[in-house]
Structures are given as structure tokens and as C-alpha cells.
């Protein structure tokens, strides 16, 4: 176990070495590797531990894994307000190429939570993914934008957090925890769920928010998981999401696809 963890490597990759990645090697059992696509903003920080645990679990079961941060997020280069959807999709393709390079080719699967799921699905063709496991993928971009706006509106008057309510000016260009841009807002407003036409599994939390409620044709294929991440709860911004049922479900579906 210790030797395996020592072999896990943090590094920068991609053009200009702008993207941060963490490679979890594994003895090649099936020839398949897994790319973990993170969610966006505060959700990325809340899911960090869960992604690390999933990476360990997959590597232990013989699937090499690459975790990474999009440009403008985590340890990758770029300011937070520089995060944009087209670049995000390009980063998925760059990360997929990096993972192929490191594990030596073969099949590639992806797991993503929230916008991470959408990014994997939307970039599936260019990244040459063979399957995607999505968790609470965003089905309605406009609902997500409304949700972030509503959370920010609640945040500024949260007297559990601030001594006095904050003026609109202090929060006008932000979503919880991060600067945003008009470009990103427009891009997310247009966001719809894309069926990649490849193997896919749809994990949904026990009480999904409006932005991730699955309609047809996905609803009949969804797999309920006993986890309550409280994506839309402004009191949960600093709470890490840890869930054994989610880890188990993600691992099981990825193993089945491998």
C-alpha cells in the first residue's frame, strides 16, 4: 500500500504545462484506465477527498487513474474567473491524451460529478472515451445558473457567516466562493445533457437538486445512491463530501465497463 501511494505522482502537463494532474498507476489488469473529471468551483474542493479515495480504490483494483484540474481551478494555472466551458472540454481531451501516454494506450473510461460529468460526456468523442459514469450530471444549465445566483443571494445576507449583510456590489460577479464571468454564465445557460452514444451509467443522489434532475431518456437508466451532497445548500460550502455508497457504486460501474 505504502509503495503504491509513493508511486502516485503529482505533476503539471499539457501545452505550457498549465494543468495539474495526479497519476495513480496500477498493474495493468484489463488494459483500461480511468480519467476523473472534477466538478466546478466550490464543488471541486468539496469533492477533492472523494476523488482521491475513488482513485485509490480504482488503482487497487487494477485500473490506472488520472485526476486533474481544469485551467482556472485547483492547482492548475489561470485565475478562477478564467474558467470557461470550451477550455474545460479541451482540458478533458488533453488529460485523456496524457493518461493514454502514461498507461500505454487501451480503453479509457471517465467518471465525473456535476459539471465534471457533463464535461466528460461532451468531450467523449474528442477525448476518445469508451464509457462514462456520471454522478448528478447537470441536466438543465439554466437551473444551475439560477441555483448559483440564489446561493449567492442567500450568502450575502447569511448572518451566521457575516457580522452584517453584504451589499450587492460585493457579490455581483460571483458564484459561491469564486469570481465568475458573463461568458461562463452564457455558456452554462445553454448547457444541456448530451448522450455520448457510448457506455454510460447515471448515478443520482437520493435528493437531486433541480439542476440535476434526470428526465427521459435517462430517468429509466438512473441508479439511485444513498448520498446527500446538498449541492444547493449555502451552509454546506465548507463541507467535504464523503460517501462510501457513492464510491462503491462508481467503482462497480467502472469495473463493469472495463
Amino acid at each position: 500500500m505504502k509503495a503504491r501511494i509513493e508511486a502516485e505522482l503529482p505533476f503539471y502537463f499539457g501545452p505550457g504545462k498549465e494543468l495539474f494532474g495526479f497519476y495513480h498507476p496500477a498493474a495493468a489488469v484489463t488494459g483500461t484506465a480511468v480519467l476523473l473529471c472534477p466538478p466546478f468551483g466550490v464543488e471541486q474542493i468539496r469533492c477533492h477527498r472523494l476523488y482521491r479515495q475513488l482513485a485509490h480504490s480504482l488503482a487497487e483494483s487494477g485500473l490506472p487513474v488520472l485526476r486533474f484540474d481544469y485551467f482556472g481551478t485547483g492547482d492548475s494555472a489561470g485565475d478562477s474567473h478564467a474558467f470557461e466551458w470550451p477550455r474545460c472540454l479541451a482540458d478533458v481531451a488533453t488529460a485523456a491524451a496524457e493518461l493514454r501516454l502514461r498507461h500505454g494506450g487501451g480503453r479509457l473510461l471517465a467518471f465525473g460529478a456535476r459539471l465534471g460529468a457533463n464535461a466528460a460526456l461532451a468531450a467523449a468523442q474528442t477525448a476518445r472515451l469508451d464509457g462514462v459514469v456520471a454522478w448528478d450530471a447537470i441536466t438543465d444549465g439554466a437551473a444551475l445558473v439560477r441555483q448559483y445566483d440564489s446561493m449567492e443571494a442567500s450568502l450575502k445576507v447569511d448572518l451566521n457567516r457575516f457580522e452584517v449583510a453584504r451589499p450587492d456590489l460585493d457579490v455581483s460577479t460571483q458564484w459561491p466562493g469564486f469570481e465568475t464571468s458573463e461568458r461562463l454564465r452564457s455558456q452554462l445557460l445553454e448547457l444541456r445533457l448530451l448522450d455520448p452514444g457510448i457506455a454510460s451509467a447515471w448515478l443520482t443522489s437520493s435528493s437531486p437538486d433541480e439542476a440535476s434532475r434526470l428526465g427521459e431518456p435517462y430517468a429509466s437508466r438512473q441508479v439511485g445512491v444513498d448520498v446527500a451532497p446538498r449541492w444547493d445548500d449555502v451552509n454546506g460550502l465548507e463541507l467535504a463530501i464523503l460517501s462510501h455508497p457513492l464510491l462503491e457504486a462508481a467503482r462497480r460501474h467502472l469495473k463493469e465497463m472495463a
Binding site: I45, R49, Q174, G177, E238
Partner: protein, 275 residues
Amino acid sequence: MHEQAFRFGAARHLVGVVGLPPVIEHGVGMILLNAGMVYRVGPFRLHVELARRLNSLGYSTLRFDQSTIGDSGASGQRLSRPEQVLADVRDAMELLKQQSGCTRFVLFGLCSGAQNAHSTAYVDQRVAGAFFLDGYGHRTLGQRVRHYLPRLLSLSVWRQRFARRRTPVAARPAEPAFEVEPLPPKIVRAQLAEMLHRGLKLDFIYSGGVARYFNHVRQFRECFGRLADHPCVSVSYFKEADHTYVLSGDRQRLLDHVAQWMGHHFPITRTGSSA
């Protein structure tokens, strides 16, 4: 600016990112400690933004995860938590020294990070300064007066209280928290005095998010007496900000403050080294 990721430490169990300025300085570098259980990027990426700001000004930085936090594993050594924290920060200093040539360090810690910065600064001679954000401090008579008096005199507070009696408002549920028992004030005061005697520069920053125990810049004197007059001590109270600096404007004000403080106490000289 140049960033590089490392696995390091006595047991190669630690993970961190070194940030270097365009021209490598050989003076003082900053080490950013975990804020509670948040991984090395910091709350809402505060540590990334701060590290890059300092890199652009000429300082080297290392943001890293302490043992068992974020991407770092356990060291496998049989150490108490305080001993492990010290060992981890010493490993971090060694890495930043190897990468940048820095031999003295400023620690930056928020919340439990402030406690860890305090305990390390107290014992390690290489620490030249520290930022303690929402760190040590205790409730005082003045704090209670400032907290309760306005509420006693406020008509709206009384109205709310009566309204609440009629319709009970659900309090925010208590979240599970990992908390470390703080040191007794007398010991904190003695240790701070010892650090100042050694010449350390100390910056205490409190946010409105901890008004339950600290609610005015004057309270530092109420807590630590004449230490407040020491020329190497500075104290700030960011009343508007919350504990984790969730608003980007508050983070920018904090970054401006840190940059200004560093420039004052550890200026980068024209020859490429900080004084």
C-alpha cells in the same frame, strides 16, 4: 511565475506545489499550511491566489498538505499530532530551501493552520515570521460588552427575540468538526513573547467570522497586554469578512494586506535578495 508539484518528506508522504518567482530570490520564502481539513489550495483557492501574488512580487512559496490531509498520506512514524505537524513543516522548509535557496521562512496559517504555525514558529529557528489568521485569542470583558451591549439596546433584536418565542426558528444544525483544544492564554502569551525576543515578525489577522471570541482590534491588547505595543507585532480586524473569506473582494483585501506586510518586513532588494 513557475510552479512545480512534488512528493516529498521523510517518508515521501507529503504532496505540495512550489511556486518560484521569475528571478529566484535567496531570502525568505512563504509556507502555506492547511486551513483545517481543506486541502492545499485553501478555502475557495485562497492559497493558490496568495502564492501566485507573492511569486509575482519575488517571493518563493510552498503550499502543501500535511500528513493525512488532502493528497498527503501518513508518515508511518509514531509521532503525536503536534510532533507530526512540526516534522511535516520542517520537511516543507527543507523542500523549499532545496528548490529556491531560501533559508528563512514565513508561515501562513488560518484556523488550525494558525495554531500549527504558532507551534512551529515557537520551536524552529528558521521561522522568521508568521501570519496567524483567526488564531489564538480569547473572550474578554471588553469582547462581551461589545457583543451584548448593542444587542441589549437594540429594539430590533428585542423584536426578533419576541417573534422567535412565538415561532421558533430552526438553528443551523451543528456540523461535525475537528477541533484542537487551544493552549491556555498564559502559555500563548509566554510563547509569543519568546518568538518576539528571537526577532520574529508576527501578523495577527482576525475576521468577523470569529466575533464569538474576537470582535475588535483593541481586544488583542485585552488578551496579550503589552505584546500589542511590540514593533514586530501587527494586528488587524477584518470585520466584514467571514472566517473562510468566501467573497473574492475580501480575499483580495487580505492578499493586499499580506503583500504589503511582506514588503515592509521582508523587502526584496534590487540585488535580488530579501533583507
